[in-house]
Amino acid sequence: MTAIEADAHTYENGTQETVASRIVRFLSTTPVYIALIVIGFLWLIPTIGLLLTSLMAPADFSSMGWWKVLSKPSLATWQNYDHLFHNGPLTHSLWVTAQIALGATVLPILAGALAAYAFAWLDFPGRDWLFIFVVALLVVPLQMALIPIFSLYNTLGIFDTVLSLVLFHTAFGLPFSIFLLRNFFIGIPKDILESARIDGASEIRIFTRLIIPLGLPAIASLAIFQFLWTWNDLIVALTFARDTQPITVAIFNQLTEFGSNIEIIAPAAFVSLALPLVVFLAFQRYFVQGMLAGSVK
């Protein structure tokens, strides 16, 4: 079930297909082809629109549509991006975003893998109930935590720090992480673990030397998920960040003057989605696997 890539050639294995049946198939699928090409084109337009808008001089944006750039490429300019990368606060927020996304990817996987191992292969009373409880936390809306954590952060004095954001994301990423990894770990052949135990390996050694390497595919899925989720977050950062703001919040603060500062908003939005897009395109197989394994969230 590698979803996106799977099943692409189901119809190409018919090697003994006659010419006639090929023609019939071609005629019956042509409308489908056309429909799909049109839909695919429509689906691309918005993103292309943002890209072209980000390349327009601000004066041009207020007077003409971005599609004019297609017929007159001389309208395009790197000027907005040049300004963006010389804009201290905005580049700083990109850096903050990267820190948050990185921390909030590594921590839930680490803590999640440890717990998932315990749920899958260690023995303790109430294990299954505890696991069900953790999985139940999957659907708790994060709105439930905003107010108490807001107060807690103020009391602890860690409000508006990268750490505070990372910890919040970590906690809310954990149920999914534990759920996904436990289900993967439990599929690891029992013999491998038992022979390691008989050889006298400690649990932590089994975990680091066996489980983690064997669990890499699941960990990869999870990492991509968690990375995209935290990179793209708005509500958590909007609540707990003032000066340590990631790019989404920085763009949000510009939005109130939409129209007058499109030359900042459009390139910033495009930069903010460029990295996730690259990550997604590079690892889409893992992304889809993870999604299929746990489309409960």
Binding site: I4, T47, T53, S62, P148, L174, I235, L281
Partner: protein
Amino acid sequence: MSEAGAQVGSPPLAVDVGKEPGRWRDYAVAAGFLAPALILLFVWIVYPTIRTAVRSFFSADGSKFVWFDNYRSIFTSDFIVTAIKNNAIWIGVVPALVTGIGLVFAVLVERVRFSVSFKLIVFMPMAISLFAAGVIWRIMDQKEPDRGAVNAGIAVVKDAVSPAGVLSQALPSTPQLAGGPGQGLVLQVPLHPGDVARLGLTGIPPEDLPQSPVQAVDPTPVSGGISGVVWRDFKPGGGKPGKVEQDEYGLPGVQVELQDTNGKKVESATTEPNGTFTFDSVQPGVYHAAIGAGTFAKPFEGVSWLGPKLITPALIIAYIWVWAGFSMVVIAAGLAAIPRDVLEAARTDGANEWQVFRRVTVPLLAPVLTVVFVTMLINVLKVFDIVLAIAPDSVQDDANVIALAMWRVSFGGVNDFGLGSALAMFLFILVLPVLLLNIRRFKREA
């Protein structure tokens, strides 16, 4: 240790030894593995959930126990009621649409060779933040058709169906021509075949004139037909109304109608660059010449997607753009898992493609469709980012949803943590059935 746990395969060594110290040591190891996760979950999810539940019964600053007052305010304050109504629209429309669109895409794409590229394109918005997607659609939804792509698309279609007129406004130059741009102008002089109609207009904005205007020509009579001219009956210095003179320009592209005495359209013609038009062969009788109202049809001004009336549909379109790919990919995976021979068997039994789809594919897909539907239900309940990104400040009250109302009440300046907690609880209660459903599902699987 529970029965289910034994089946999943717990290490025999740990159980068999049976010595108390050994077992306690195993528990300690397990606790060590669990501790980081459980601490995080407890501090950031479990404790806050309890805290929010309690807090929802206290006043804005937390000093007074107010029973259910906050919950009452949810249903009495206007902007929250709007938010609930909007969320109801989201719930009613989005999960079904997203599931349906995903199903259609998945079924269609299964048959084509470029399915990988198509899936990738439709799935791509999933990688983008809902917030960035919002910015994208805010640009798409601009009102002016020459800036907003959505309205530009509508304008193309609309111009093909009912094109805009060549003139935005005009006045008759002589009293013989009666009417106005709204209803069209009718020449009061009765016409017979062989007559000439002169329809002079003034008060035409300069930008409505053609770029290189052509001298108007006084029409020559046509035997058995009616000829005429529509021209700008004005030149610098004035000129004589009702007479085609030097330096007065013809008005091209004007729709001229020939009407019978009842005002019914008999024939129509469009004027030449010099303003002339001809109805070649006309039955004997009495006619009137008129300039149709279509000449003054206004160009498409753009749908106000970001205005208070259409903001929720605009948001939903953007949201579907993001989530259709998710639905398509999950359903496509479900489709791929359906055994081919089941479908083949149905086909050999004489079922046509539609029957196979309706009677075999969809029922077999039901569990997958349910997962997509329920996932979307939860997502839609918590919709937040896209509203903040697309809806301009002035219409955010009209576009409001529960999650946004919760945030604005709590952190948007009012800082009413009591009402905010009650709203969070409200969301929580709404997802509770799904939570219970999940527990039941996992208990069965564990």
